[in-house]
């Protein structure tokens, strides 16, 4: 068997989710090649080549791949697909945008967001927002899969010495163009990649009060998230939302502050290793999933937490 992994990167560096995909590929078994499609993406290609366990890195560098538009990258992947038994993409917005397009062009179905490898053709994946887990088996000749990064440990980022092979193929769809992007700038880790996450809910009262969480986050090296209620109330932007319709996180430590624990929020964080809940309502459903619950006024508890860390 041989597996092609479509890496997630910003041309300069690889996103950590790529390392989780390598682990998933190792569980499937076989040769592992990585595709870095980008523009001026030499640093990302070099980082890919140093991941332990990688056989080869295919580096396609062209303006057409600068923003990894699915129309262009899908055709590149299809061109490279010959000989691979599995094509893996991350379960991120980029991967989800791309992988079905690849599958359709190859004439196969696609498996979304796998969380476990049972066999080379059998996988587990969440359905109904994680309220049920399906075991599915694919009979397709090439299995196109997106992988939920938080479900697999990261592979070693160093120790490998894969060859880097340049690929000159250019696919440019005439009818789509990149206009611009607005990325939230932050010194903190990305929500889905952070080992500690602290999130605030409606109980925070307003956006300014999230500063309390920022201070705790700075001490813990944590990312800051929010519940849908806090986003809908306009306290914080929607890219901070953890939950069924937002980001799925599974950090070592998740601290829920002023969050009641609606099903839609729990779906996004219940796979965290340790969950802490701070809420003044002792009946809040969040306490049913918390390893450590503290019934307290968050406006007293959070500053005290910060000072004790």
């Amino acid at each position: 068997m041989s597996i092609l992994i479509i890496t997630e990167h910003d041309n300069q560096s690889l996103k950590p989710v790529t390392l989780s995909l390598v682990t998933a590929a190792q569980q499937i078994g076989g040769d592992i090649d990585l595709l870095v499609a980008g523009e001026n993406a030499q640093p990302a290609a070099e980082a890919a080549a140093s991941i332990a366990g990688v056989r080869k890195v295919i580096h396609a560098d062209n303006a057409a791949y600068a923003h990894q538009l699915a129309e262009n990258v899908s055709k590149l992947v299809v061109e490279l697909a010959e000989g691979y038994t599995h094509i893996l993409a991350p379960g991120t917005t980029t991967g989800k945008n791309l992988a079905p397009r690849v599958a359709a062009l190859l004439g196969v179905n696609q498996l979304s967001d796998i969380i476990a490898v049972e066999a080379a053709d059998t996988f587990k994946r969440p359905i109904y927002a994680g309220n049920a887990i399906a075991t599915v088996k694919s009979a397709d000749a090439v299995k196109v899969i997106t992988v939920r990064g938080t479900a697999f440990d990261a592979a070693e980022a160093s120790g490998g010495s894969a060859t880097v092979e340049a690929c000159d193929s250019v696919h440019q769809h005439a009818d789509v163009s990149f206009v611009g992007e607005e990325l939230a700038k932050s010194d903190r880790p990305e929500l889905t990649a952070a080992s500690v996450v602290i999130s605030g809910g409606r109980g925070m009262g307003n956006g300014e009060n999230f500063d309390m969480l920022n201070k705790v986050a700075d001490k813990l090296g944590a990312a800051v998230g929010a519940s849908r209620a806090a986003v809908d109330a306009g306290f914080v932007p929607n890219d901070m939302q953890v939950g069924q319709t937002g980001k799925m996180v599974a950090p070592e430590l998740y601290i829920a502050v002023g969050i009641s624990g609606a099903i839609q929020h729990l779906a996004g964080m219940k796979d965290s290793k340790i969950i802490v809940a701070i809420n003044k309502d002792e009946e809040a459903p969040i306490f049913q999933v918390a390893d450590y619950g503290l019934v307290a006024d968050l406006f007293e508890a959070v500053p005290e937490l910060e000072s004790r860390l």
Partner: protein, 250 residues
């Protein structure tokens, strides 16, 4: 411009999902069904384009057994002009659905095809992208804003870490995210009117669509239950537990 909206009948999002005792699938017997929330947003966006004078006609299509006509009537009550049911088994795989939608889109000469980003049952998030690939047309998934500019669309997409804006020439495929709009409620007169709007029934064979398959559902199980832990009495005790018991804080 002609807009085609694909919609799916799914379990109502307020219903708690139960796995069948033989673990063969989720139990859908006597469960309330509804229009998939993301599809509802797609219908709303199409109707707004019509109200703005940008779209001349809004056609909704659903693929499934006769019961999905209920959701097509809902879409008609929200303002779609006519409906097509493609009669097939429920829970068809994404590639088969995309192939059927391709045939419908070609037959209708649709300029814009709107779909929800995913259905809340299978959570696949695939159909729109597959349809775009089969038609070799541009796509904008996770849309939070759609602006029509002549024969092109400017679409803002919700991506990890922020927003991205793309320009797509029509015909194009757009899949909706939660914040694109807030769907209206259907009024009683519109629900009555929807009953008289045209609803055609077709089959995949008539459309010339080839079904795919390839993925078999072996079993479904409930997720591992999380046990409630302990209540701590103070912040001091909490920090002590995190340091010395859970060892997740240095």
């Amino acid at each position: 411009m002609k807009v085609l909206v694909a919609v799916k009948r799914v379990i109502d999002y307020n219903v708690k999902v139960r796995v069948k005792s033989d673990r063969s699938d989720v139990d859908l017997a006597n469960v309330k069904m509804a229009l998939n929330p993301f599809c509802e947003i797609a219908v709303e966006e199409a109707v707004r384009l019509k109200e703005a004078g940008t779209a001349e006609e809004v056609v909704v299509v659903s693929i499934g057994s006769k019961s999905c006509q209920e959701q097509l009537r809902t879409a008609l009550a929200l303002g779609a002009d006519r409906a097509i049911q493609v009669d097939a088994q429920d829970q068809l795989d994404s590639l088969s659905v995309a192939r059927i939608l391709q045939k419908v889109a070609e037959e209708e000469s649709a300029d814009l095809i709107l779909l929800g980003k995913q259905a809340i049952d299978s959570d696949n998030n695939q159909t729109g992208q597959m349809l775009a690939a089969l038609m070799d047309r541009p796509q904008a998934t996770f849309a939070s804003e759609v602006v029509v500019e002549g024969d092109a669309l400017k679409v803002t997409r919700e991506i990890d870490g922020g927003l991205q804006t793309l320009s797509l020439k029509l015909p194009a495929i757009v899949t909706t995210d939660l914040r694109l709009n807030e769907p209206r409620y259907a009024s009683l007169p519109n629900i009555m009117k929807a009953k008289r709007k045209p609803l055609d029934v077709k089959t995949p064979d008539e459309l010339g669509a080839q079904l795919a398959g390839g993925v078999e559902l072996l079993s479904v199980e409930p997720p591992a239950e999380r046990q409630a832990g302990i209540k701590v009495g103070s912040v001091e005790e909490l920090v002590d537990k995190l340091r010395n018991e859970a060892k997740v804080v240095a």
